[in-house]
């Protein structure tokens, strides 16, 4: 039997499977760090967008808007190329993994900021008034009253962003990121075995993304019920 899905092709792919699993590990590692930093960026920028009490806060909000506009409206691949090719010429040398983490974090953070900001705005004004009437400072009000309620509101949308982040990590193949998509691309190119390679690679992405999507759907259902 010949063709792209021949038994010989499958057998060859399975022999190389450990290579793919290492790439998979790299994908998960980059995604996890990217996610953590994206969340930090999202919370910081989201808070900045919603607090405009004085001039300094308004300036910070404007800066965050600028950051978000750029990273939401340019391709991730261009951002990654800039980090990979332009930054070293400016004296900033980062490993491929660092570029991957940074690129994914800044890109996803720009979306996470919007999610956090709208979740903060979704908490009724009465909550802020209740807290401030008790003598809580703005920071205490945010930390003790608003953010705990925002987390619940933001969770479904944020979970969808996690899936996007993991899928987007495949873009790092273009800078030899060493992650799953890069392994798939380079291995299939040199062995000329495409069928099993990309089916299995797709399944590996599916294996992590599908459960997360299902969790997101459950969270969405629960939040609709609680409204």
């Amino acid at each position: 039997m010949n063709g792209p899905f021949s038994i010989r092709n499958w057998r060859t792919w399975f022999k190389a499977a450990p290579l793919f699993l290492r790439g998979y590990g790299q994908t998960l590692l980059i995604s996890l760090w990217g996610l953590l930093i994206a969340l930090l960026i999202g919370v910081f920028a989201g808070i900045a967008l919603t607090s405009r009490a004085n001039g300094r806060q308004r300036a910070l909000a404007a800066i965050m808007r600028g950051y978000m506009s750029f990273f939401q409206n340019t391709p991730l691949m261009i951002q990654v190329f800039i980090f990979y090719n332009v930054l070293p010429k400016m004296g900033v040398r980062l490993s491929v993994t660092m570029v991957g983490v940074l690129g994914l974090a800044l890109y996803t953070g720009a979306y996470a900021a919007d999610i956090v900001a709208s979740a903060i705005r979704a908490v009724p004004l009465g909550q802020t008034e209740a807290a401030e009437s008790q003598g809580f400072s703005r920071a205490q009000t945010l930390w003790l009253v608003i953010l705990p309620q925002s987390v619940k509101i933001a969770l479904p949308a944020m979970t969808n962003q996690v899936v996007n982040l993991i899928k987007n990590s495949s873009v790092l193949a273009v800078i030899a990121g060493g992650e799953l998509m890069y392994v798939a691309d380079s291995w299939s190119g040199s062995n000329l075995i495409y069928g099993p390679t990309f089916v299995m690679t797709g399944l590996l992405y599916l294996a992590i993304c599908l459960p997360i999507s299902m969790i997101a759907r459950q969270l969405e259902k629960r939040s609709v019920r609680n409204v």
Partner: protein, 257 residues
């Protein structure tokens, strides 16, 4: 917290003084020169048609609204002069009960009572906990300490909110239409609790309400506020039964049937 800087000595005899308070929202003049002195421990009810400035006046006492002109002096402190930190400290002693309860939904009833006094150190942990339990008992909800707000009825939520305000050990309590958002069958239980709370001599209380019978029963002073001005000011029997202004008579005519 250093508060002495904004103390105005001659005003201390009164808990709250309004001095020529003007306040506008855009072109809409909501308060037009309010002059008032509220005695320590007194129970004052503010009535009047909606849009007359009642809630706005109440909200100047914890500076949720800031006068455009004139000043509000609370416990000797000029609120206009207070910094952010001073204001937060002052607000610890000024409780507010809202129309829409505004309980913290992610906290149990008991935690709603204890979160602020524990965080802001209004007493030791043991003191705060026993005060909170006592206040939950006082509003008849000792058995609901571990319930979340979503598990309580509107009336129960408002009773928890009253207990929450009490647990801060306030000098002043502000009630902003506390029964207006309640279903009719729940109004009575909240009014009864408020009546009991009004017995506490050491707390100065201001009520904005449409419950006239309650107002007459618990207050020692009634203010009738219309078009941003105080039209009537006196003990309840006088304001309700021998009003001086035709506006008050007309207002009573509208609501008492």
């Amino acid at each position: 917290m250093q508060l002495t800087k904004c103390i105005i000595p001659h005003t201390i005899a009164n808990m709250i003084s309004f001095e020529d308070v003007h306040l506008s929202f855009g072109k809409n003049e909501v308060l037009r020169g309010i002059n008032l002195k509220i005695e320590r421990g007194s129970k004052t009810v503010i009535i009047g048609p909606s849009g007359g400035g009642k809630s706005t006046l109440l909200r100047t006492v914890n500076r949720f609204e800031k006068p455009n002109k004139g000043r509000v002096i609370v416990n000797g402190h000029d609120l206009n002069a207070a910094t952010g930190k001073q204001l937060n400290t002052l607000r610890q002693g000024i409780g507010m009960v809202f129309q829409s309860f505004n309980l913290y939904p992610h906290k149990t009833a008991l935690e709603n009572l204890t979160m602020a006094p524990l965080t802001l150190k209004r007493g030791s942990k043991d003191e705060v906990m026993s005060r909170a339990r006592e206040n939950l008992r006082a509003v008849g909800l000792a058995d609901r300490a571990d319930s979340y707000p979503s598990q309580l009825s509107g009336g129960q939520q408002q009773r928890v909110a009253i207990a929450r305000a009490l647990t801060m050990n306030p000098d002043i309590l502000l009630f902003d239409e506390p029964t207006s958002a309640l279903d009719p069958e729940m109004i009575q239980e909240v009014l009864e609790i408020m009546e009991e709370v009004a017995q506490r001599q050491n707390i100065t209380m201001l009520f904005v309400t449409h419950e006239m019978r309650f107002a007459e029963h618990i207050s020692d002073r009634v203010l009738f506020l219309d078009e941003g001005q105080i039209m009537e000011d006196g003990p309840p029997h006088q304001v309700f039964h021998q009003p001086k202004t035709t506006r008050m008579t007309a207002f009573l005519g509208k609501i008492l049937h």
